[in-house]
Assembly symmetry: C2
Homo-oligomer: 218 residues x 2
C-alpha cells in the first residue's frame, strides 16, 4: 500500500511538472535544478555563477531550504531576483516538488527571464525522485565527501545532466582521488560532463559557464 | 491525504521501534543511531571508535546505504560483526526504518553484545523522523559543511543526544568558525554535548569515547 501511495504522489508531481515545463517553454525560460548534499557548496557556486552570467543572461533563482533565509540573502547580493521556499511550512519536506515551483514562479516577471535556477534542498537522495519541470539537472559533489558517493547514491548521478566537483582548492589537504570520483560518476552515468572547480577561488569556472550559456542559447 | 498516510507510516514505524527497544533492553544492549549528511565521516569515525572501544565493549554494527557494501567492508576490518542493509531493494529508501533494524538484528548473537551501532543512510533530513528503537542518537557535522547547517536542518539536531563536529584537522584551510557552528547547534538544542574531533588524525576522541562508555555502562 505504501508503495502505491508513493507512486500516486510521484504521478501527481509528474503531471504538475509537465505543466511547469510547458509554462516555462512558452516564456522561453531555461530551468536548471541544482542538487547536492548539504554543504557541498551549491549557494557559493551559484553566487559566483550569477556574477559571471548576469546581466548577459537574465537570471532568477528559487532556493529551497527547510528553514532560514540565509541562502536567499547570499544570492540576492548578485542583484538577481531570489525567492526562498521554506518547507517547514509543508512538514519539513526533504525535497522541492513541482507545485512549490509553480507557486514560487508566480513571483517572477517571467517575460523578462532567460534562466531560472532552482537550488534544491540539501539532500543527495529524495530530490532526485521529484521532477519539478526543469530542463536540466546539475549535481554537485565536493571533494571532502569521498570518491564513492556516486556509487552509493546512483539515482542522483543518473538523473543529472552534468556534475560539478567542487572545492578543488582543498585537494592538497585531502586523501581524495578526483579521477576516481569522476570515474565513479561515469560508471553510473557514462559521458556525463563533469566540471572540476572551486567556488571559493573561482578556479575551473570557464567550462561550466560555457556549458550554461550553451543551455540557455538552445 | 498525503499527510494522513505519512502519519500512519510514522505510527507503524513507532510501534516497530518500541518492539525493538524492548528486545534490545531485554538483552541489555545499548543502541546508538549515527546520522549525518553523505560524506561527513560517519564510517571513518566509527572505524576509529571501534578500534578504541573493542573488545572492552562488545560491539556490533548495522550500516545502511542505498547501494554498495563499501562501508561494511571498512567497518569489518575492526573485527566487529557488521550487517549491511541496502535500501535499493526497498525502492532506494532515504532512511532506515525500525523493521529493517529488526531483521538485521537477527543476524547478531545478541546475548554477546553490549553496544549496537547503527550507521544510518547519509541524509540530514529524513532519518531524523524515523525512530529505529535506539537509546541515543548522534549527529555528525563536518567542518567543510558550513556553520549554518543546524539552523537549516534543525530537526536532526533537536532529536540528537550528542553531536560530533568532525574533520577539525581541516580547520586551518577553511573559513569555518567552529564556535559559531557549536553555538548554532545549541540554539536548536541547548546543552547538547558536542565533540570536536578528527576521525583522520584521531585528535579529540577522548571525550567522545568517554561519553560512549558512559552510555553503555548505564
Amino acid at each position: 500500500m505504501e508503495i502505491k501511495i508513493q507512486k500516486k504522489m510521484l504521478e501527481a508531481n509528474e503531471s504538475d511538472a509537465e505543466k511547469n515545463r510547458k509554462n516555462f517553454k512558452d516564456k522561453n525560460i531555461f530551468v536548471l535544478n541544482v542538487m547536492s548534499s548539504p554543504g557541498s557548496g551549491k549557494t557559493e557556486t551559484l553566487c559566483k555563477t550569477l556574477k559571471m552570467v548576469m546581466p548577459k543572461i537574465r537570471t532568477g533563482v528559487i532556493v529551497g531550504d527547510i528553514c532560514t533565509h540565509n541562502d536567499a540573502d547570499r544570492l540576492e547580493a548578485s542583484g538577481a531576483k531570489v525567492v526562498q521556499i521554506n518547507t517547514d511550512k509543508f512538514g519539513g519536506d526533504c525535497h522541492l516538488s513541482a507545485n512549490m515551483i509553480d507557486k514560487a514562479a508566480k513571483e517572477f516577471d517571467l517575460d523578462n527571464l532567460d534562466l531560472l535556477i532552482v537550488e534544491n534542498i540539501g539532500n543527495l537522495v529524495c530530490p532526485a525522485e521529484f521532477d519539478i519541470g526543469e530542463n536540466a539537472r546539475v549535481v554537485l559533489l565536493s571533494v571532502t565527501e569521498g570518491e564513492d558517493k556516486p556509487l552509493k547514491y546512483p539515482l542522483m548521478f543518473q538523473v543529472a545532466d552534468a556534475a560539478i566537483l567542487n572545492k578543488i582548492d582543498l585537494l592538497p589537504y585531502l586523501d581524495f582521488n578526483a579521477n576516481e570520483a569522476v570515474d565513479n560518476m561515469r560508471k553510473v552515468h557514462p559521458q556525463m560532463p563533469v566540471f572540476q572547480l572551486s567556488a571559493k577561488t573561482e578556479e575551473g569556472f570557464e567550462p561550466w559557464i560555457e556549458w550554461l550559456f550553451g543551455c540557455v542559447k538552445k
